[in-house]
Point group: C2
Chain length 203, copies 2
């Protein structure tokens, strides 16, 4: 019964422009932060009129949300190939996760989200659901396959914390640039710790 809205002729919003705007926003906001980065800067970086941004995004806040969503999306974790020896798969998963999270862009994204945590609480949840939560789920599943199902969720949490460790804090605080080997050491220590405890728990 609802009459469909009359077809509205004219040009249509160009998806390529939207992509260019998001790319410009990524460059600007990861360089200067969400608060400091200006819409004029985004427009210039994207090679686009400012009004075009507002045709594609309602406001700066909407643009930021779309950007965070886009930057979190590819963080989906796929467990490593099943061909690896059982014990190595978990190590591999942790290593790829940590190297991803330790990349400059990922650190800047985390910083920017933390910075606006109380002004835009939605960002924090968006980030958590798209990134850290899925990582923990993947790790828990792998642990459940190879060890205990009951303790898998809490073990996954602990593994993530230990794998990131102080080295990640250095990155976030900008006080150092730990090498890959540091993370590898932390991961190996974490796995050793948890597996010892698991064996003991299983009597």
């Amino acid at each position: 019964m609802t009459t469909s809205a009359p077809p509205r002729p004219g040009r249509v919003l160009d998806p390529a422009k939207r992509a260019a705007i998001l790319e410009g926003a990524r460059a600007v906001f990861m360089r200067e932060g969400f608060a400091q980065g200006s819409m004029d800067a985004v427009a210039a970086e994207a090679g686009v009129g400012k009004q075009t941004i507002y045709r594609h995004f309602r406001s700066k806040e909407a643009l930021v949300e779309a950007l965070v969503e886009a930057m979190c999306a590819p963080e989906v974790v796929r467990p490593p190939t099943r061909s690896l020896p059982s014990g190595q798969r978990l190590r591999e998963l942790l290593l790829t996760f940590v190297t991803g999270v330790a990349s400059p862009d990922s650190v800047r994204l985390y910083r920017a989200i933390v910075a606006e945590a109380d002004r835009m609480p939605g960002l924090g949840r968006l980030f958590w659901e798209a990134g850290p939560r899925q990582v923990r789920a993947a790790i828990a599943q792998l642990w459940a396959e190879e060890h205990d199902t009951a303790t898998a969720p809490v073990v996954a949490e602990q593994l993530v914390q230990l794998a990131l460790g102080d080295a990640y804090q250095e990155l976030v605080l900008g006080t150092g640039s730990p090498k890959r080997e540091v993370f590898e050491r932390q991961i190996d220590a974490a796995l050793a710790l948890l597996e010892v405890a698991s064996r003991r728990h299983r009597r």
Copy 2:
């Protein structure tokens, strides 16, 4: 040989005013963040003319640096009373540390420092040295007394990470307000984990 500068009469900068300004800055910046908090707001909060702030601090940046330094300083950790049973002292230390770090003001300070990590890299180091580093040292010493000296530093790192855990991430990201019991559970699990491994390591 250098002629002493001519005596300069007049009033002297009032230290009480400086303290009031820092207190006002703490209130404002912890409420609104370093970027959003305005100097006018600090002046009002401190009950002080804006120019008085600029007589005591060269710029907003200088005020922020002084504030961070002041807020980090008192975070010195004193190990708990020796009267406690040996096994409980470590738990007590971790608990007071975590509850301190989980306080709203501490979380906001951490957020603010992370937010400006690349614009003001000195803040990150200042914070790390004054807070987390000392906490780790205190924990390591306690662990060395009761267990192994060689592994104490890395164990302290792991204990801190596990004690904070995902609950602290929720606080930082603003996605939740975990109760004290959550942190207690994380601490107990961490201690159990590390002590099991320690006993095994000692053969």
